[in-house]
Symmetry: C2
Subunit: 448 residues, 2 copies
């Protein structure tokens, strides 16, 4: 069916209820507009903690809040659980997978990103990425089932492959995954198996670049590397993945300007996690084609300083789908990083600009307030890089870890989640246990 | 591979780590035996609260504890995640799905039950039952997606079918499901939809017999019926299901000795839950064929007073897989009901009899201590029937509900679970919200 604006008020349609979409809708709370939020899942996902669902530390409901419940008290929001298959900027309509259309006066596209295999989509079954709850459950299943299968496997070679965990990509997600996997092997499962020693499991972190956490200053990359190694993670830098299959992967090193010889070797592994590449949602290119606006190599669409599209001031794009720049007065524009504060700020800014347009005022360029960067690695291990008026404040180890912990618990959506997550973390810290070691379907048709 | 007993000590193999298997293994904690626990999942499931996972009140990890972690400190237990495909009483081995075998000196079979469609297995896709976490996730998905789809459906007939929820079978699970579904429709989702009124949803409880909770005394059945109707559940008694498909079900009434006319009608519904029939695990008949011991109509194998099999004192069967009798001195034997206390007591008794045999002592007949029966219906609604030395103590309503609540929280495995469950229940009670309204995969390839 055709969905008209529920009233004569301007109709703002928001595609995606991640950080960007949620903040945009909230910004419009008291505005005299109708808002329709369209998401293809029923929940807003707190993605910074998704790796903890994948590593059995948290239950899914702790980091996922029903979209509908978030807007229960915001009467001007209608929620649609639907997949967007197209946007028609000329007709100002959004097409849904069920064949229906939603008309808009203003559109905010916040459809986010998915993982990218750099043209090797055939790697996906052997090396799942981590973007959705379903992804997290699949990785959780693979990790736990690797230990289980190793316990009943007599062949030492196969057992070795089952106890070799490989994380590809040493960005924040890859570093968190690798550190946590090492913790699971060394601590969580200690003493639970009778035939294998889970502590003998190998956790490899394979990175194509010369250091981990490349978005961080070099000194913190070094700290993170040391902490990873202390947790038992083997880090392979300057190592490019050239093939992945169900039995393992192939890695190439050298051949660069430093003159190191080109070498290739194979790592047998039954559990490979992809944390290397991110690509914008396909809606980016679709919108680019429809409006004639350029996309960058990662599929992100280029936006104007006010986050709208050139020639289409009624369409804004925020979050991981946008190639956006931050415009501080008197400084050259800087790219906005693909982190949650960037998406949240842009969501609010795009909504504010819509309100300005409705009031007949000029829009304002987006300025990203960068409060810094932080990444956790494992128990008592993290790195923090804060911007302060007195210059950067950098620290690592346990203080950084505590900072990370409270920052993430603070930003979690919903009071219930915060309490349960803090409880789970506290009990995990003291007991070395993880509270969500549940596989609903060991055969893995995908699951809980 | 062949799994021999890890030492020269007697090897006790336990199939299934539900209530019966878990208690049996624990009873053997200090015994000079080796124990191998085989389960086809990685978790012990607290089944009395499974309906709360299905109705989005609890996260799966709250009611599921990893089997391995439960036995971490019990050094004589080896855990195997494996499916048992056969038992060879002559060779005293258990066959696993991967082709390997496990030899035993003593065997406790506690493989439990599954749902039975009374010869209509073709109904299963349209009316999932509730025995495993995967079942619970599937029902959660169907319930939540029915409301979501109704919100985007214009056709009033289809919308009505989407908002008609049918639970078949008014035993404890059916009553809990129906009561909770009514609560979700009337309270949890109130105010969250803009096009449909979730409160207009119909929840039907269809029962073939003349009353709900037939294991309860008639006065409590009547109380339960009143409480169900107060919550908004429409109860159809003496109504036999004759067909189920994806669009609804057919129900027949009358034709009985009371002279009521035979009538047949159709209920259009997109969400049907099967809570009517239980059948023993197929291992029952398999074991019956191999030992020549008889099974009853539900596939439960008949056991001797000491829970062993006739002619095979080294094999015991406990829990829902056993047709067991309780032997109180001076009283005629009484069937043991298929409830968790029955399985737990039988598990302990079977293990104790193994220890007696090892010590050269005679085994002891099983005596079931019946502390009563309780069932919850919904907010402030439950019925309790306790046996006391002064006769039965029966109560219903809020006191019964509080009693049910604390009893279930008390018996939950693991301290973490108890705290998180109590927190979820308390917040749900005050806010009318449910904390696990998450569907990981809206397309439903099965999930979390």
């Amino acid at each position: 069916m055709q969905t008209p604006s529920p009233s004569a008020r301007p109709h703002v349609v928001i595609i995606g209820c991640g950080f960007g979409g949620l903040e945009a809708a909230r910004k419009l709370q008291r505005a005299d507009v109708d808002v329709t939020v369209i998401d293809k899942t029923n929940h807003h996902l707190f993605q910074p903690l998704l790796y903890q669902v994948a590593t059995a530390g948290l239950a899914a409901p702790s980091i996922a809040a029903p979209v509908r419940a978030l807007f229960r008290k915001q009467a001007n929001v209608t929620t649609l659980l639907a997949e967007v298959t197209g946007i028609d900027p000329a007709a100002r309509t959004v097409q849904l997978a069920d064949g229906s259309q939603v008309a808009y006066d203003h559109l905010i596209v916040a459809a986010g990103a998915t993982h990218s295999y750099f043209g090797h989509d055939e790697w996906a079954p052997a090396a799942p990425g981590l973007k959705t709850l379903a992804d997290a459950f699949e990785i959780r299943r693979r990790v736990l089932m690797s230990f289980e299968t190793a316990e009943t496997t007599a062949d030492p070679e196969r057992r070795r492959a089952l106890l070799t965990f490989v994380v590809i990509g040493a960005g924040p997600t890859g570093v968190e995954m690798a550190g946590t996997l090492a913790e699971i092997a060394k601590h969580t499962l200690a003493g639970e198996f009778r035939r294998i020693d889970p502590g003998s499991a190998q956790v490899l972190l394979v990175e194509g670049g010369p250091r981990v956490l490349q978005a961080m200053p070099e000194s913190l990359s070094q700290k993170a590397l040391e902490q990873l190694e202390r947790l038992g993670v083997e880090v392979r830098l300057n190592a490019r993945v050239t093939a992945i299959d169900n039995a393992g992967l192939e890695v190439q090193t050298g051949g660069g300007p430093d003159g190191a010889p080109l070498q290739s070797y194979r790592i047998p592994s039954s559990c490979v996690v992809w944390a290397a590449g991110v690509a914008a949602s396909p809606l980016g290119r679709l919108l680019g084609n429809a409006t004639g606006v350029e996309c960058d190599r990662a599929g992100r669409i280029k936006v104007e300083p006010d986050l709208s599209l050139a020639g289409h001031p009624e369409i804004s794009v925020v979050g991981d789908l946008a190639a956006a720049m931050s415009h501080a007065p008197g400084k050259p524009p800087k790219p906005v990083p693909g982190v949650s504060p960037g998406a949240k700020q842009a969501g609010r800014a795009a909504a504010a600009n819509i309100l300005r347009r409705l009031a007949g005022q000029p829009t304002v360029p987006f300025r990203y307030a960068d409060y810094g960067n932080l990444a956790t690695i494992g128990r008592n291990s993290a790195v923090v890089d804060l911007g302060t008026p007195f210059g950067p404040l950098r620290f690592s180890g346990r203080p950084a870890w505590l900072f990370w912990l409270f920052a993430h618990a603070y930003f979690l959506i919903g009071f219930r989640n915060r309490v349960v997550v803090m409880w789970d973390w506290a009990s995990a810290y003291w007991s070395f246990q993880r509270n969500a070691r549940v596989v609903a379907d060991v055969q893995g048709r995908s699951e809980s």
